[in-house]
Symmetry: C2
Subunit: 242 residues, 2 copies
């Protein structure tokens, strides 16, 4: 059972203050790369796993999707998503995506932003998603990069030489990581890049693209505080075809 | 132009003493995983890029391949490979694989062990290989894992807490790394996992498997000195279909 940290009042308050919560897609530094991995939206039926405040659901409708189902475990996030949405073909559904059952061939695009690293049984979910997609339907998602989620101590270090480094260890030891992010005790699932790639392939997907996001020169100019991200990418992005 | 370090007398002598040089495939810890990624060898025409002492070429013939072309830049390695091979359908060829031209649809399997991280223009090579493979032919290879090749200081560190860590930095900064391995000044090309995956896809391959090798429990029992490799996989292995 995934932890429902987003309904913790302190966590929710902190999360709501993040740039990506205030500004939506435009506030997510990896969005331009993720957007480039999406198919043309015209006429698509879309499923958004971990829809949060509904930023993507609303964007995808403007981009031409004919229907969107947004799923999230957090009641607080869905409350705000519903309040900010007035579109009859966007449906918000409260559910644990680990236990989702979906009708066959009912979506043309499944999208998920920074959510799958909370899922314990990824293989089961990937098989469910593959079956829910129309033939050649797309699955586009981002997760915390495994290099980011692996270490037991997830904090930058400085070597005697002065070099800033990410203290990587336990990369091949998959499973739960408890970290302090916004509030203490946030539980995520660390898995390797191989686990994501082979999980997709085993579920029947064809991998179309894999991106390890880091800031562009222009982004570093605008946000110098992102410069260190070139040392270890924070996000892993993939697109696959059913 | 790739560095021809294997023909440096000191390097060659040190390399010849490695377990994988003395014992061949059985001395390479990642071989069981790589072997499991290979297709059935019966009747295949095989190209081996970076064939070294010819261990794989000889194995693949025993496994049923009908012909093998082994390519390497090192004269010293090919000298020994030829001396240890008496098989008319194994051909050893001295060439820089960066500048290889190959006849179309002339191989059913291209194999490469720990060689592509010396190649500067990977995209060009991948397109050459794709064209050289028969329809549905396979490409199976291993490289130094990008997590291994990224850091500017490639040495284990111990944090104040006592944790052993791999000092990751510059992961997204692709290009040359000069390291001390066997002898000082060995030049390799660091690239990201995304570069390998997207390079394959852009050349027309379909990715079949991606493995990040670490020691099994049984291997750690036998070689306790390999235990730290779980912290950062030393090898990246992939198989793809043309």
């Amino acid at each position: 059972m995934s932890q429902n940290i987003y309904d913790d009042p302190s966590f929710f308050e902190g999360y709501s203050r993040l740039q990506r919560s205030r500004l939506g897609l435009a506030g997510a530094p990896e969005w331009p790369v993720l957007q480039a991995m999406l198919p043309s939206m015209a006429g698509l039926r879309v499923l958004d796993l971990g829809c949060g405040f509904g930023w993507f659901a609303r964007w995808v409708r403007q981009a031409g999707a004919v229907s969107v189902v947004g799923v999230d475990l957090s009641e607080r996030m869905l409350l705000r998503a519903r309040a900010e949405t007035s579109d009859a073909v966007i449906t918000y559904l409260r559910a644990n995506i680990e236990h989702l059952t979906l009708p066959a061939s009912s979506f043309d695009l499944v999208y998920s932003s920074l959510t799958l690293h909370y899922v314990e049984d990824l293989s089961k979910l990937l098989r469910t998603l593959h079956a829910s997609l129309s033939p050649n339907g797309r699955f586009v998602f981002s997760v915390e990069h495994p290099i980011f989620s692996a270490p037991l101590e997830q904090k930058w270090q400085v070597l005697a030489s002065g070099s800033k480094i990410w203290p990587l260890n336990s990369y091949l030891v998959e499973g739960q990581r408890v970290t302090d992010w916004i509030t203490p005790g946030v539980t995520k699932q660390h898995r390797t890049i191989a686990a994501y790639v082979n999980g997709l392939i085993d579920a029947g997907f064809r991998l179309l693209r894999l991106e390890e996001w880091g800031p562009s020169e222009a982004q570093i100019q605008e946000h110098p505080e992102w410069a260190d991200e070139i040392h270890r990418p924070p996000f892993l992005l993939m697109s696959a075809q059913a």
